[in-house]
């Protein structure tokens, strides 16, 4: 209580207790079995202001908190000591299990061969990548698993801390295979979608997924109840949850205003959400630019009409744009309002980290596991994927297509850039073709007459992402084609 003006106030009245460090280690060792070795730093003081609780040396442990997790924390978070087998062996193991004997023997000999090859193939990487495109046979005969030394051998025996320390320095010990070996290294988006439409699940899985979604939809009326009790619902679990939320939307939220937000949408902003509510829904004239004020305004509005319930459905509330704490604060503020209800989904494994307990308190989530196993088609249509041919970067086929439609002069300009880049392919620090040099070259070839005309041409290239413009430190503009050397070579040969 008010105890004068002395600055040292809260000394807990603990008597005989070991040092905090000792307690800490004790605590950690106790938690260890559950796999949650949390960061229990020395400011535990504050955690345990409840003095009666603390007089004993014994630290109270959670009795039930970790008892019924589906998965033990060990399995997810611990450093695994068992030897990793590597992809090749794993595959061999799997294949051996359910193939007839002959197949198995074949696979076995094949894998043995592969492993031998893997040992013998040492440092012929440069040749390999050069010859890959045209003459696949010799390289291919090495088969699928040439050099699958994915596990760095050096770190095996060491303790986990050493791994952490040495991680940045150590060399990557994986094979040098690249996707260029494939016929189509990266599938374009449209083709991918077309292909995926054809894939079918096994009947049993089809049935299983159906019953899974039936279970999930069975909870809908309960969701309505909970939402009306000022809880917000957060759905998680593997698989896209869009369909389920949409279904809920169509079935149960027909009569109230609903805002659907695609959190995975790349150019979303919190302002657009607030605008959606203020301008499109409430049709207010004033629309403050400050998001905090806008949120306040919305809350005020909804407080004044307690009978309308607004439902906010946010797919992927942890989406790239919504991830920052400011945005989450606004969302939390909104969803803490009595008649604004939030239904959100998360997918990223670290998604819950975006909320501190203050926000969690405002969100007041009820967590719901709605594992659906359905593919994230829509969610990923915006994501720049590793294997998908990205619209942002350039692939040979699209280059071809654009190139065909160019005027002859443009073609010649482009070829100059390509040639220059190929000439300098060996140069590790190739910055690109300087604009000035290009201009001179073009003038000499009577392609363009003025600086401006060339720039107009280049604008077209950059629009189609055939060329990237970079400005170096000294202010010179450099032009570079974002395409691998071999592809460029191929392109040049085609158009020679």
């Amino acid at each position: 209580m008010a105890s004068g003006s002395s600055p040292l106030i809260r000394k807990t009245t603990r008597q005989k207790k070991p040092s905090l460090k000792a307690l800490e280690s004790l605590y950690i060792s106790k938690l260890k079995h559950s796999g949650f070795v949390r960061q229990s730093s020395s400011d535990d003081d504050n955690n345990f202001t409840d003095e009666d609780d603390y007089q004993d040396v014994e630290i109270e442990k959670p009795k039930l908190l970790h008892s019924n997790d589906i998965v033990h924390g060990d399995e997810i978070f611990k450093f695994h000591t068992q030897k990793r087998q590597g992809l090749a062996r794993k595959v061999a193991e799997v294949c051996n299990e359910n193939t007839p004997y002959i197949e198995r023997r074949k696979a076995k000999t094949k894998i043995e061969k592969l492993l031998q090859d893997a040992d013998s193939s040492g440092s012929d990487n440069t040749e390999e990548s050069d010859s890959e495109v045209e003459i696949p046979k010799p390289a291919r005969s090495k088969g699928k698993f040439s050099k699958t030394k994915l596990q760095p051998t050096a770190s095996r025996g060491r303790s986990k801390y050493n791994i952490l320390q040495t991680a940045p320095q150590k060399k990557i010990c994986t094979s040098n295979n690249t996707l260029d070996k494939l016929e189509t290294p990266r599938l374009p988006q449209y083709q991918l979608q077309k292909l995926l439409q054809d894939t079918k699940l096994s009947q049993e899985h089809e049935r299983a997924l159906k019953s899974l979604s039936e279970i999930n939809t069975g909870f809908f009326s309960k969701w309505v109840f909970l939402l009306n009790e000022n809880f917000n619902i957060l759905v998680y679990g593997l698989g896209s949850k869009r369909n389920i939320l949409n279904q809920f939307h169509t079935e149960y939220l027909k009569d109230s205003p609903v805002i659907v937000v695609n959190g995975f949408f790349p150019t979303l902003s919190i302002k657009s959400i607030l605008d959606g509510i203020i301008v499109d829904l409430l049709e207010l004239e004033e629309n403050p630019a400050n998001i905090n004020e806008a949120a306040e305004l919305i809350i005020q509005e909804f407080n004044s009409m307690p009978k309308t319930h607004l439902y906010l459905i946010v797919h992927n509330i942890e989406g790239e744009i919504l991830r920052n704490s400011k945005t989450q604060n606004i969302l939390a503020k909104l969803s803490a309002t009595k008649n604004i209800h939030l239904l959100a989904s998360i997918d990223h494994i670290n998604a819950p980290l975006i909320w501190d307990h203050k926000k969690l308190n405002k969100f007041n989530y009820i967590w719901w596991d709605v594992t659906s196993f359905s593919p994230y088609t829509v969610e990923n249509s915006f994501e720049l994927s590793l294997m998908v041919q990205q619209s942002g970067s350039l692939a040979l086929s699209s280059l071809r297509n654009v190139f065909v439609s160019l005027t002859s002069n443009s073609k010649r300009i482009y070829t100059i850039i390509v040639k220059h880049q190929l000439q300098n392919a060996k140069n590790q620090y190739y910055q690109g073709l300087a604009f000035k040099d290009l201009y001179m070259a073009c003038r000499e070839a009577f392609i363009v007459s003025s600086d401006l005309a060339l720039r107009a041409q280049l604008a077209e290239f950059t629009d189609h992402k055939m060329v990237k413009m970079k400005r170096s430190v000294d202010g010179t503009e450099y032009l570079i084609i974002p395409l691998a050397k071999d592809l460029l070579q191929k392109f040049l040969e085609e158009n020679a």
């Binding site: 209580m1 809260r10 611990k78 805002i259 509510i277």
Partner: protein
């Protein structure tokens, strides 16, 4: 409204108005209590709603009570802060609140309300998120002072309110505040009699900063310096909420700033709570909630929300749960309105001896149910009373085998029969060694508690009998005081015996004999103590029976541990589980696996790719990964590897199809955060997780 309407490449927010019309007239007052829910027709909902309202009220009261002690001191401080000059220093109250952020909002709200009511109408609460820089801070503060005041002053000044609202935000600054303030009190001075000096009439301007730590130090420093210029003209008082320790204030503010403020420290109390309502948590759930409170968030409001959820879950199980009220008339009424299905549903859950009759005969069922319910309620009431008594007895025993707090006793008592536990026996053993003073103080506590429950009813019941017995023992123990002299001469005599002359060996034997003797023979107090303890133990054994042994206890006790997953999500382990063992969710025969390391070709693509990536180190070669995937999904083609690749036309559809599937799986893994593309090597991805 379906899928196709919420997919767009140009926008991410979709508004569905669904016949919603924004009402132009804002200021219609809402009729209180008109809060209807679509579930209102359900019996269980009515009970739930009524009960929750009551609990909410109780909690509110508790909170207010809790705050009163802190607040009263603080109020006095604020009131008197400007009585005797300030010398350019701003009086400041530092409220040490401890880390418990979510609850604080509530506390500070109550605080500002209290200040508004009792001390001064000028209160401004500044949150760090609204005050990124000094400009916003000042604007925010002045805005709150001026506008809030206007809303406080009644409708008389409607026009004025409008005009003041038109002051632009950018114009709000301290000089404006000053002139506004002087304006305000000039009026007062002119209207009030002269002998009231302006100084006493002027209300202080209170600035509350609930989360000092999250403010930027620079803004705060400037703010304090700025305000210190005005403090002679405008009576400012600061209230800082500090979560950690007072040292933060010193580290945040340099000397030149801290010299401007005059700090006084207040400690707020750790919060305590107790609930009484017909709805009861079963032992496991109770333990769970306590665990979450102690080890997760330490937040009372979260705890309350969790209880609310448990309640919601409990009541939504069906109409039978509507019986969970405290009013016996209510129970009768609800029973009347029960339909046959309700009876059947409830009857199914039970293991009552006469089950068939229960299910077939509604009337019989209802009568049984009513009987049982009264039984449970009686039992539970007694459980609480005697648990409290037991708590008085055992809470300060060395090492506290049964725990120090009522909650620990409670959780034990509702899950098992507490009198049969070894801890209970240990406790009574320990009680058997207690001195008279300790025992009497404990007995008096129990008596006080029991008699406080008894005062109004006159008819003899079991409680009364218990009380009478206790009284008897109490008297006896007090009488013992008078009797003790009788004991004493006896022992003195013995002492004398020792004093007689004898050699060492004799003395030793004598002493040995004496010690044995005293061991065996109990004095009167010890006898009495034994009796008392036996009596109490008997009473406890009779009344402290676990409620789960009674029929229909489910109506009152909620013990579904499964709510844990709803309160604390297991997001990551759900994903892990789905990926590692899809059969857990799919329940199909084809994906059965003996241990988590096994891969089946029938598994979903993403599971296969995930399991393969577990075999890799930090970096993964996409090409190898793809090949591994292909050979698992489609092992038959392995026959002639080179041939297949040479003429792609033949195998093209299959090959490309599988590649598409692989691509999708990788994209999904990336989306889930397991891998990300790496620039360190061409066509490699890096793993983002450590374990399996």
């Amino acid at each position: 409204m379906g899928d196709q309407h919420t997919v767009s490449v140009s926008k991410g927010v979709f508004v569905f108005k669904n016949n919603f019309k924004p009402s132009r007239k804002k200021k219609h007052k809402m009729v209180v209590g008109a809060n209807k829910s679509i579930f209102s027709n359900n019996l269980w909902y009515q009970s739930y709603f009524a009960l929750w309202k009551k609990i909410e009220q109780d909690i509110e009261e508790l909170n207010v009570e809790m705050l009163v002690s802190v607040l009263s001191d603080l109020m006095i401080f604020i009131k008197n802060s400007h009585d005797n000059g300030t010398d350019g220093e701003i009086p400041t109250a530092a409220l040490l609140t401890g880390i418990n952020m979510p609850d604080h909002e509530f506390q500070f709200k109550a605080l500002s309300n209290q200040i508004k009511l009792t001390v001064s109408p000028h209160v401004s609460v500044l949150h760090s998120q609204d005050c990124q820089n000094l400009k916003y801070l000042i604007e925010n503060m002045v805005n709150q002072f001026i506008n809030e005041h206007d809303t406080c002053t009644t409708h008389m000044e409607m026009e004025e309110e409008d005009s003041s609202k038109q002051i632009k935000k950018s114009l709000l600054n301290l000089p404006l505040l000053q002139s506004w303030y002087e304006d305000l009190y000039k009026e007062n001075i002119s209207t009030t009699p002269k002998k009231h000096k302006s100084k006493t009439r002027r209300n202080v301007l209170v600035v509350i900063i609930p989360d000092l730590e999250s403010f930027s130090a620079q803004v705060l420093q400037k703010f304090i310096l700025l305000v210190s210029w005005y403090v002679d003209k405008l009576p400012f008082v600061f209230v800082f909420g500090i979560a950690t320790s007072i040292n933060t204030l010193h580290t945040m503010l340099p000397y030149k700033v801290s010299s401007k403020i005059n700090i006084r420290v207040f400690n707020s109390q750790p919060s305590l709570f107790a609930l009484s309502c017909p709805f009861k948590l079963g032992g496991r759930v109770f333990n769970l909630l306590i665990d979450i409170f102690l080890f997760y968030d330490f937040s009372v409001s979260n705890f309350i929300q969790n209880i609310k959820f448990a309640m919601a879950e409990h009541f939504s199980q069906g109409n039978a749960r509507a019986l969970c009220t405290s009013d016996s008339k209510e129970i009768k009424r609800i029973l009347q309105s029960f339909t046959h299905e309700d009876c059947e549903n409830e009857g199914k859950n039970e293991t009552y001896q006469n089950r068939i009759k229960l299910l077939s005969d509604d009337e019989y069922f209802k009568s049984v149910l009513e009987e049982e319910i009264t039984k449970i309620r009686k039992c539970v009431r007694r459980l609480h009373v005697f648990l409290k008594c037991l708590h008085f007895l055992v809470n300060d025993l060395p090492k506290a085998p049964l725990g120090k707090q009522v909650r620990e006793l409670y959780s034990l008592a509702v899950s098992t029969n507490i009198t049969k536990t070894p801890e209970y026996k240990e406790c009574f053993q320990l009680l058997g060694f207690q001195s008279k003073e300790e025992l009497t103080s404990k007995l008096s506590k129990i008596m006080k508690y029991v008699s406080s429950l008894l005062n109004d009813t006159n008819k003899p019941n079991k409680m009364k009998i218990f009380m009478d017995e206790l009284n008897n023992y109490w008297n006896e123990i007090n009488n013992l005081d008078m009797n003790t002299p009788e004991d004493k001469p006896h022992s003195v005599q013995e002492d004398n015996l020792i004093l007689g002359q004898m050699d060492r060996k004799q003395l030793k034997e004598k002493l040995l004999g004496m010690s044995k003797q005293t061991d065996k023979r109990m004095n009167r107090y010890e006898n009495l103590r034994k009796n008392i303890l036996n009596f109490l133990s008997g009473v406890f054994e009779e009344y402290l029976i676990e409620p789960s042994s009674l029929y229909f206890h489910e109506i009152f006790f909620f013990n579904h541990i499964s709510i844990q997953n709803y309160i604390v999500g297991t997001h990551r382990s759900a994903i892990h589980n789905a990926l590692n063992d899809p059969q857990y969710y799919l329940q199909c025969k084809c994906c059965e696996i003996p241990n988590s390391l096994v891969i089946r070709p029938s598994m979903p693509d993403i599971c296969i790719t995930y399991k393969l990536h577990l075999e890799c180190g930090k970096m993964i070669n996409l090409y190898d990964w793809l090949q591994a995937f292909l050979s698992i999904v489609d092992p038959m083609e392995s026959e002639d590897d080179s041939k297949r690749i040479v003429d792609p036309e033949l195998q093209y559809p299959l090959e490309i199809n599988l590649q598409a599937r692989f691509t999708q799986a990788i994209t999904e893994l990336e989306f889930l955060g397991f891998v990300k593309s790496s620039k360190r090597k061409a066509d490699h991805v890096s793993r983002l997780t450590w374990g399996g």
